[in-house]
């Protein structure tokens, strides 16, 4: 009986660790990571924040449950962009990752003829998923952007 109880408790603990976003998963505000990326000089263009509603529309997120996001878009002169989402759960994060990939493909098609110099930046975009978080960053310095993101979602 005691053995069964211990087994049951261990299993419960194991399940709770892997369910949703536990204490081992990143915990940060998307705004903090986005500001760090902006301030540490990874971008050549002028990036401005967009409203959460517009951000969800831009990434075709539909009814996906996003608990927080920070999206900065360029003037249009380049494809540089910052998009960091905190999703309701890991499953939603996977859906958002797919949406981010589609966004990159769309940008690639647009800029291929419009501003071909933007293509390498799009191809080298940092797309990272950790727990409930998704980050998609198109910058002039992908390595720098990646190292900044490591501080938040390694």
């Amino acid at each position: 009986m005691k053995k069964n109880l211990i087994m049951f408790l261990a299993l419960t603990l194991l399940v709770s660790v892997f369910a949703a976003c536990g204490s081992n998963e990143p915990q940060f505000e998307p705004d903090d990571a986005a500001l760090a990326l902006l301030e540490e000089g990874a971008f050549a263009d002028l990036l401005s924040p967009v409203d959460a509603t517009i951000a969800q529309s831009l990434y075709n997120l539909g009814e996906l449950e996003i608990t927080a996001c920070s999206v900065y878009c360029s003037t249009g002169a380049t494809a540089e962009e910052i998009a960091i989402f905190r999703c309701a759960d890991a499953e939603t994060a996977k859906e958002v990752e797919l949406a981010a990939k589609a966004r990159l493909e769309s940008q690639s098609a647009t800029y291929a003829s419009y501003a071909p110099e933007a293509i390498p930046e799009i191809e080298n975009a940092v797309l990272r998923v950790r727990g409930c978080y998704v980050a998609c960053v198109v910058s002039g310095d992908a390595a720098l952007a990646s190292s900044i993101l490591d501080r938040y979602m390694k």
Partner: protein, 272 residues
């Protein structure tokens, strides 16, 4: 001698008197004609313009010539005031709120996409694609024409700035016609090309204010011809030097969020 002179004088005087009498009688015969006036002899009925027959004059009344009266002058018709055509370039007026744009569509290139992202105006519909030209706008125009709008704002041209201006104008005219076929009640606002920065203008053979103004002259003309309104984005978005402020742009053409607010404010105050 004296009697001869006297005789001669008497003869001359007689002849003179006869002559004077003759002249006198002649002048009296012309005085019988009555003067032309509105008053008529009460015994005579004048012929009227509608052809009423004049009765024969009485035998006791000396015949008079028909009095000519001028035909009545028809009254000068009051000219119907021609409807005043609405101005192509709208003057500044009281600002409208976001609700005013709820039946508006914005069609255009990356700058319209920027307007969508940064202006904060969410009550309207956007049909914007980076790199859109008139030629490539067909799909978006067809999509837009599936819904009826009260106002349609168009910004195209910066991606075609290398064309001949007249060719551009011709293509734009066709675009207006295509839109009008489906949007019969919409006010169409042709937005002129926005300014470029001084650096861009002085270093680029195409993206410069000379060509921007050349295109905008065509667009202003087109707006007048097609009964559209013209929005002067150079006036709206340039600084006192006539260029796009360098602080708001990285490439001299596109601009950051804060400048879209200036654009929106201009549209709020320049409307039909």
């Amino acid at each position: 001698m004296k009697s001869g002179i006297l005789k001669y004088a008497l003869t001359f005087l007689s002849v003179f008197v006869v002559l004077i009498a003759f002249v006198f009688v002649g002048s009296c015969s012309t005085a019988d004609k009555p003067p032309v006036s509105s008053e008529t002899d009460p015994g005579t009925e004048l012929s009227t313009p509608n052809g009423t027959e004049t009765p024969a004059p009485s035998q006791d009344v000396p015949p008079t010539d028909a009095v000519e009266t001028p035909d009545p002058v028809p009254p000068t018709p009051t000219p119907t005031p021609e409807p005043t055509a609405p101005p192509t370039v709208l003057p500044a007026s009281d600002p409208v709120d976001d609700e005013w744009f709820s039946d508006a569509a914005f069609l255009g290139n990356s700058l319209v996409d920027g307007f969508r992202l940064f202006s904060g105006l969410t009550t309207c519909d956007y049909y914007a694609v980076t790199s859109m030209t008139i030629v490539s706008s067909t799909d978006m125009v067809n999509l837009m024409n599936q819904k009826q709008y009260g106002k349609i704002y168009i910004l195209l041209g910066i991606n075609e700035i290398g064309y001949e201006p007249e060719v551009f104008k011709g293509q734009y005219a066709d675009l207006i016609e295509r839109i009008r076929e489906h949007q019969k009640d919409a006010d169409i606002y042709i937005m002129g090309l926005s300014p470029v920065s001084e650096y861009r203008s002085t270093t680029d053979g195409l993206f410069n204010m000379t060509r921007v103004r050349l295109y905008n002259e065509q667009l202003l003309e087109l707006a007048g011809e097609k009964g559209c309104y013209y929005i002067d984005l150079v006036e709206a978005l340039s600084d006192e030097t006539g260029y796009l402020p360098s602080a708001v742009t990285s490439d001299g053409i596109h601009f950051e969020a804060v400048h879209y607010q200036v654009w929106l404010d201009w549209l709020r105050t320049h409307h039909a």
